[in-house]
Amino acid sequence: MTTALSQHAEKGFFGRLIERWPAKLAVTIIAVMWTIPTLGLLISSFRTRDEIRGSGWWTAIPHLFDKAQWTISNYSTVLGQSGFGNAFLNSLAVTIPAVVIPITIAAFAAYAFAWMQFPGRHVLFALVVGLMVVPLQMALIPILRIYTNFDLVGTFPAVWLAHTGFGLPLAVYLLRNYIGSLPSSIIESAKIDGADDFTIFWRLIVPLSVPVLASFAIFQFLWVWNDFLVALVFLGLDPKTQVLTVALANLAGNRGEAEHLLPAAAFISMVLPMVVFFSLQRYFVRGLTAGSVKG
């Protein structure tokens, strides 16, 4: 260790630069390649209709500070006329309950799986692990039929409950692994002090589990907000109830007409997940590394 450190110091600034530059170059090239498509779209979204249709976004870069070529009219058109303002509210209306409800139900179940004895506990939990990878395509047709019978197609509760069902295996799995790893001594001492399971759960377990609750919440938020299939099947194309992904796919479908609106529309759908993602990245990464596969 010490020899390596002194070797490192001997090389000095330029030595390290030479040692690092191949890695640096490769990383830079990949990072630029990964960023260009989004960057191009961002630039396009602020250009006028004729410019978007007439020339590539890169032609705008030489006169980056020429105010005359930038406009926010695409955004106002998309939010108003194209109904993306409405779709944004719908996405919020679908996403928030579809995150909150499964967390609540999963937390109780996770506590039971981790700290209570009951017949079938291990079999049931193994089933949860298995259900994590079951493609939700397996559930679409029968649930659509049930919803049709109860006249639930096209309503928000239909989507909330579907996302609750589809998100539950991962939620129970993540929460149970975390809650099960809490030290048993705190739970036992609480029991000796006369606390019952319910008190232990909401006074001890829930406050201690905030990190894992947060990481699942971000996970489920991104999943539901970005979901297209469930929203398409259970909410459909009605402009009153359609969510952002469905509206965006629709707009992309009639490309010729709305090509100049697509960049702005795409960014409207991307802005909230990006904000959530970057402000809460730490929790998200923790959830990812905890091992998460979802069906």
Binding site: A4, A112, W115, Q117, V133, A139, P142, F278
Partner: protein, 383 residues
């Protein structure tokens, strides 16, 4: 679960002898069932009723959401609490047997209704005719494996599964290794840039790449897609990327790779960072080159993480639907199983064929399911 004794929910002293704990079986099961059913039924009924009420009132969406949250959290909590109180007044010998069902029952019921029952039902539907009126045996499966369109989608799905996860893992691992050698600030920035597409929906990613692949026939104005602009600048004639078979499938794969590499990179990066640095230093002192270091030391110690990432991406790829649906609608020989399935039941209203494709998808992920459960059991054994 260190030792079984630590797991006992009740302190041993307060526990009655085993013989007394047994409650009359039918009553016990009835209460257990009720305890499990109450929360889901209540949630569904209240959500739907309040939603319908609000819909009649033409109330705005945010009010509906507020109601959903109040019901979803406060209501469900109150119900759990109420059931817990109810269990507390039961005779002591019943309590320990019922309380776990108050906690875990609702989740089990919802999983049954939304995943287990539909999965079984889908298998049954796959043996029925297109409108599920009569039993047709294996006919849907025979159709799937003899119709050109579905065969193409199966071939494509297999191609996707073979190609995409390997490339995602390779780029993710390579990038994580290289970024690890940079200073901490440039590492964080470059990782964030790679990670960013993970926050983008597949539909959004399709729009992003739709512009990259944009195509104008020669003579119909400037190329606004960067790829065709490059091709034109190099003197070639523009290419309609999304209709050139079989390469159009490869261009669609690029989109998925773009969104998934960040995921692979983050997980592999944390695995690489947990390789003990003294082992690396020892190998360096022994004169190992960086390449040898990677293949002989780093790669073997992250190989189990590589498998986890690979299986996760495999699942994502099997279920891939959005990108193909939005970019090409499955035209020009690009369809995949999950996209074909939605087309069958949502556009062609052929429920039998749709269900058969879903079952094929399920069979395809069974190996991963088995791996997951095995790994889970191994983890449990060492807990």
């Amino acid at each position: 679960m260190v030792t079984p004794t630590l797991m006992e929910p009740e302190p041993p002293s307060s526990r009655p002898p085993d013989t007394e704990r047994r409650a009359p079986a039918p009553l016990l099961y009835l209460i257990r069932l009720l305890a499990s059913l109450l929360v889901p039924v209540f949630t569904v009924v209240v959500l739907v009723v309040s939603f319908n009420y609000l819909r009649d009132q033409n109330a705005n969406r945010l009010l509906q959401v507020a109601v959903a949250i109040v019901v979803g959290v406060a209501g469900v909590w109150a119900l759990y609490w109420g059931m817990d109180r109810f269990v507390s007044v039961l005779p002591e010998r019943l309590r320990a047997g019922i309380r776990p069902f108050v906690f875990a029952g609702p989740a089990a019921v919802i999983l049954t209704v939304y995943l287990v029952y539909p999965a079984v039902n889908t298998v049954i539907i796959s043996f029925m005719s297109r409108n599920s009126k009569e039993f047709v045996g294996l006919q849907n499966y025979i159709d799937v494996f003899t119709t050109h369109d579905t065969l193409v989608s199966i071939r494509n799905s297999i191609l996707w599964v073979v190609v995409v996860p390997v490339i995602v893992v390779a780029i993710g691992l390579g990038f994580a290794t290289l970024a690890d050698k940079l200073g901490s600030r440039s590492e964080a920035v470059s990782k964030s840039l790679i990670f960013l597409p993970m926050a983008v929906s597949f539909v959004g990613a399709s729009v992003v790449w739709g512009f990259v692949y944009s195509y104008r026939p020669q003579g119909y104005g400037n190329q606004i897609g960067i790829l065709n602009a490059l091709v034109s600048a190099l003197g070639g004639s523009p290419i309609n990327w999304l209709s050139v078979q079989p390469w159009n499938t490869a261009f669609l794969m690029v989109i998925l790779i773009w969104t998934q590499v960040g995921f692979a990179m983050v997980i592999l990066s944390s695995a690489i960072k947990s390789v003990p640095s003294d082992i690396l230093e020892a190998a360096r002192i022994d004169g190992a080159t960086e390449l040898q270091l990677f293949w002989r030391v780093v790669f073997p110690s992250v190989s189990s993480t590589v498998i986890v990432v690979w299986t996760t991406v495999v699942i994502t790829v099997w279920k891939l639907f959005d990108i193909v649906y939005v970019m090409t609608g499955g035209r020009d020989g690009t369809s995949v199983i999950a996209e074909r399935m939605v087309t069958e039941f949502f556009k062609n209203f052929n429920f039998g064929a749709g269900a058969a494709l879903a079952v094929i998808l399920f069979i395809a992920v069974i190996p991963v399911l088995v791996i997951n459960i095995r790994r889970f059991q191994a983890e449990e054994a060492i807990r």
